[in-house]
Amino acid sequence: MTITAIAAPLLKYLVRLADDNLVLGQRLSEYIASAPEIEEDLAVANIGLDHIGVAQHLFSYAAEVEGEGRTEDDFAFWRTEREFTNALLVEQPHEGFGELIARQFLFDAYQLELWEALSRSSDERLAGIAAKALKEARYHLRHTSSWVVRLGDGTDESHRRMQDAIGAMWRFTGELFEADDLDRQMADEGVGVDPTTLHQAWTATVDEILAEATLHRPDDPYQASGGRSGMHSEHLGHLLAEMQWMQRTYPGLQW
């Protein structure tokens, strides 16, 4: 199999959007049968399914745009760490339910704004995917917000744990709102959105929920970056090794 360099900007943009969803969905899928309550096993699986579903739609659209016969699975299973362009936040492992919720909440609040903007994309296909994902993101954010509030304003222990969890994920949020040439080009063409324009609304949502949860916004000035150009943390390689294992062990087969 030859993996050609991703050339067209739209293709690159779709893959970037898909990667966020696939990697986060994979993280959530690790959590099956580990939740504090059965209801939460259901909810986490649901959210994970939504993300993987979105990734699937975006990858198959990307494959069509590319027009070289690759499939959604080629994108998911036959690219290396340096070729994945997801944000660092979604690849971060979670130490327990608090961190899982913190990561998800901070990302949901971002995706809500993202899909809202992309549902008005001039690219109809992308707009359709975004419109569906927007509905899902609303539900995800409602769910994770309610947990941030309950855990933040629950017991002393849960307050401390939730504050730590938000703190642990915070330095990966800045990257979500960085714009590179691709973002700006896509925004100019009316296809995409400039992520810097999403930051204000995101901050308002996060501040509101953190206040209700009696949590404070972390003031860590350090913000990590690099995911969009394939400069990942050490975690992504392990996630991919597990996820891609079957395809790489038995190449070229139908499942």
């Binding site: 696939l22 994979q26 899928s29 690790e30 099956i32 049968a33 580990s34 939740a35 504090p36 309550e37 059965i38 209801e39 939460e40 096993d41 259901l42 699986a45 649901n46 994970g48 399914l49 993987i52 579903g53 990734a55 699937q56 990858f59 959604e72 699975d73 998911a76 299973f77 327990g96 339910f97 608090g98 509030v149 309950r150 855990l151 304003d153 629950g154 017991t155 222990e157 849960s158 744990r161 597990e242 996820m243 294992w245 079957m246 395809q247 038995y250 087969l253 139908q254 499942w255």
Partner: protein, 311 residues
């Protein structure tokens, strides 16, 4: 002559009507149901582990999505069944505690490890397949909430068996390595899936009374036979062999006859010496304990909210 609760209970059973939570029922009936429904609920929940073991490694995005949705269904089944048990006056927490301390059981099948992707196919086809045979019979069980839970569950189960068979069908049309993987899975899952129906009727301690109360409508051996008869031709279609040299078709009765089941293995697993018996419970207890602070927080928050409302 006054009509007692017992008379009414016996009448309900005789008329094939449903016993409902508020009706009078014998203590033994209640206890048997609690034990059986709880065991059923625990099985749905513990059963998430062997399949969950392959979600992160599913070979395609489509397979990953289908498997995740399937395992999610099982969590839902656990919830329906715990609710059905709760109508008999026990709480979900109590039942989970009995599971964690080994005082209540779950289906022994989930103590076997999933060692290849083909195992996910074999579980769907054989384990869910066997569960369906059992659950269809339970749709007419005499306790209303249990029967209704079975109706809901059966609707989803046929998708589970189909997804399993579809995994195997893909393997059967695949490479030599894929077919070998499939055969190996059938070799390991065939006998345990036959054991899912429980001990032979002659040795089953609960069967007789349960049949009288119409909790159980069909015996273990009858259900097992039904499963064998429907499954063997499906296996032939896949091109697998069953690990039973005595498996033969009886022209006279129209049934597939199986060889002897290794009941020593069955009882060993039931008593807690299954390959992964300890690991399954340990994982469940670990998740429960790790989640304690979350449940406490949710309770504390709910109390704060209701205090603020009344203040």
């Amino acid at each position: 002559m006054t009509i007692t609760g017992e008379d009414r209970f016996l009448e309900t059973i005789a008329a094939d009507d449903k016993v409902e939570p508020r009706d009078w029922m014998p203590d033994g009936y209640r206890k048997t149901l609690i034990r059986q429904i709880a065991q059923h609920a625990h099985s749905e929940i513990i059963g998430m582990q062997p399949e969950g073991n392959w979600i992160t490694r599913a070979p395609t995005l489509m397979r990953k999505i289908i498997l995740m949705a399937k395992v999610q269904d099982e969590a839902g089944h656990g919830l329906y069944l715990y609710s059905a048990a709760e109508t008999l006056g026990v709480s979900r927490d109590e039942l989970q505690h009995l599971l964690h301390t080994g005082k209540q059981k779950y289906s022994s099948i989930f103590n076997y490890p999933t060692l290849s992707w083909a195992d996910i196919g074999a579980i769907g086809w054989l384990v869910d397949g066997a569960a369906i045979v059992n659950q269809i019979a339970l749709q007419s069980t005499s306790y209303g909430p249990y029967a209704r839970a079975m109706v809901r569950i059966c609707k989803e189960e046929s998708f589970h068996a189909r997804q399993g068979y579809s995994i195997l069908l893909a393997l059967s049309r695949g490479s030599e390595a894929q077919r070998a993987m499939m055969q190996d899975a059938i070799d390991r899952w065939w006998w345990p899936s036959l054991m899912m129906f429980g001990p032979p009727d002659a040795e089953s301690t609960h069967t007789e009374q349960s049949m009288k109360w119409k909790i159980k409508r069909v015996t273990n051996d009858e259900l097992r036979q039904q499963f064998v008869d429907q499954t063997v031709p499906q296996g032939q279609h896949l091109g697998v062999t069953f690990p039973d040299p005595d498996l033969t078709y009886d022209e006279g009765t129209g049934h597939w006859m199986i060889g002897d089941i290794d009941w020593d293995e069955f009882w060993a697993v039931v008593k807690g010496d299954g390959r992964l018996s300890r690991e399954r419970i340990a994982a469940k207890v670990h998740a429960w304990e790790e989640g304690a602070w979350v449940r406490e927080a949710a309770t504390a928050y709910a109390e704060k909210v209701s205090l603020r409302r009344t203040a």
